[in-house]
Amino acid sequence: MWIALVITHGLSAFLLLGAITHQVVSVWAPVRARAGNFVARFRAVGSANYVNAIIVLYIATMILGAILYTNYRITARLTLEQGRYWKSFGAFELKEHLIAIGLATLPAYWYFWQPSQDAEHARTRSMLTTLLAFVIWWGFLTGHVVNNIRGLGT
């Protein structure tokens, strides 16, 4: 069960990672003219269309992570402590707190991506998106490294 959960958690995080990365790139480097090459097309996505999906995926990934955390706490974390993998341990501790903080920004993130807020709150929208992107990337990379050290359900 734990292996299935961690795989599902990882897949959900992967989808979330793709969506938020498209969005944050399009926010900071929007394409003004017709997109020609791959990079331009990556930047030219309709970033506002990702908002609801990002929110749903964030919450779903976090819920799966919260369930997995109970197993992590009595298995993988002991391996990290006993093996003195302090950098990875600390990075995962930080992941927990970043994810928790990111959750709180979702209502504001949703609101400032509404079409009516386009011009007035562009900076707030950009910074909220960037904050979430950082949280999601940190969570993804840290979780991957820790799972490499000691996989859940093994």
Binding site: A66, Y69, T70, N71, R73, I74, R84, W86, K87, F89, G90, A91, E93, L94, E96, H97, L98, A100, I101, G102, L103, A104, T105, P107, A108, W110, Y111, F112, H121, R123, T124, M127, L128, T130, L131, F134, V135
Partner: protein
């Protein structure tokens, strides 16, 4: 901001982030969980066996505080709430994130 929802959302994000930091640092958990025994306990009462998880309780404390603050902010007159800067929604959480990075920095310097 004159609409109620953005006032709530910005206040919630800012207050939650600040309270969450102090909840972790001072262990203000609304409830705890013992993963080895599968039991929930109130506040920070330890599990009967094995480790005690406070993370869920910290999130609950922060969420409740943020929600209450958000509701109070919504009750303020528009003449006051329109001065609420939308940037608090990202600035305070970023500050909390930096504070956590500092709090945990010892793990990366061992």
């Amino acid at each position: 901001m004159t609409s109620r929802f953005p006032v709530f959302a910005v206040t919630f994000a800012a207050v939650y982030a600040a309270v969450y930091y102090f909840a972790v640092d001072y262990n203000w958990a609304l409830f705890s969980y013992g993963p080895a025994v599968g039991k929930w306990t109130l506040f920070t009462a330890p599990a009967s066996a094995g480790p005690t998880m406070y993370w869920y309780g910290w999130i609950a404390t922060a969420a409740l505080s943020g929600a209450l603050a958000g509701l109070v902010a919504c009750l303020l007159p528009t003449s006051v709430s329109r001065h609420l800067w939308s940037g608090f929604a990202w600035l305070v959480p970023m500050g909390a994130m930096a504070a956590f990075a500092y709090l945990l920095s010892g793990y990366w310097t061992r």
